[in-house]
Symmetry: C2
Subunit: 192 residues, 2 copies
């Protein structure tokens, strides 16, 4: 059993919680009402909006040291809805990794809509989580924890540099749903 901490109790934080709880893991949720709690998890999921990540990283860098930190954000520019707010050759995950040099930062869940994590299905296909990161051991621990409940699959999408492509894909999926081309309960499936 792994200890998981999830920042955020919105749709994504809740759905990601169900994925880990299905595997029998202990899940700690921290939100703005419980922000005095100390992080107990070895895997810490930041299921908060992109804008909230930097302050969590700054405030908790010591607590997060040595842990696996999972960035799920899609840093969409909501003013223009026509691009991302991060550097065009970078990613939110790369920014987080720079802010937390003593943590192992992974990108995951950002290409999954909350409903597909809660149900484990994208249409008739099992929901697949794409994970990117530079530390193979951290990716293996994350994958074992996320798949223990067998509600989702996890595919290793490569180094943390691939977060750029994952964030592009996440943004594209959001624009398709916002434009009513797809629903918020389906989206991109990954067929192995």
């Amino acid at each position: 059993m792994a200890n998981i901490t999830i920042f955020g109790t919105g749709n994504m934080g809740t759905a990601i919680g169900t994925v880990f709880a299905a595997g029998g893991h202990s899940v700690q949720h921290i939100d703005s009402d419980t922000s005095d709690q100390t992080v107990s998890g070895d895997i810490v999921v930041l299921a908060v909006p992109y804008a909230a990540i930097a302050s969590i990283a700054a405030d908790r860098a010591d607590q997060l040291a040595g842990k696996i930190i999972v960035d799920i954000s899609n840093p969409v520019n909501f003013e223009t809805f026509d691009g991302l707010t991060v550097a065009t050759d970078g990613s939110a995950a790369a920014e987080l990794a720079a802010a937390l040099p003593q943590s192992q930062v992974l990108k995951a869940f950002n290409t999954n809509f909350a409903a597909t994590l809660a149900t484990g299905k994208v249409g008739d296909d099992i929901t697949t989580v794409l994970v990117a990161g530079d530390d193979a051991e951290a990716k293996a621990a994350f994958t074992a924890a996320a798949t223990a409940g067998m509600t989702v699959k996890v595919i290793d999408a490569g180094s943390l540099k691939r977060a750029r492509e994952l964030e592009a894909m996440g943004f594209l999926q959001i624009t398709l749903a916002a434009g009513e081309k797809i629903s918020w309960t389906s989206g991109f499936a990954v067929i192995a």
Copy 2:
């Protein structure tokens, strides 16, 4: 019935030909052996490697004027296999649109592996072509032509600027297949 010209007779050019042929359209194929042919199609698909696009655009700009030009390329940097060769805030499609100001450039098919276009299936899901472009009429004509045979679905992914995200997604899909995380006969499905 639409007249379609496809540059390239490789896996992609052949598979895309079957999609249009299924709709009863006339399909002209042009490859290096038949490069003296004049383009007869109103919709012209450049099913050639990224590196070959610039010279076709330069040589045929007059012939391609007024036509719908479909860029299917994934401008992968095959030396590093760690990124794209185009500007990080741009796309191959944007480059092509700049080279062919009198044509209507669309991005499409670059997130579909050839086998999924030939069979019309990604796993058990119907193959979905994502198309991006700035001209609504061109997208509508392309969509009508590509879906007439009912072997694939087409979803409008927005303006040509979204080609950046489509190319990121295409690149990611290629890296997953090259890394044997997914097969070349499946990949990303789009569930509406």
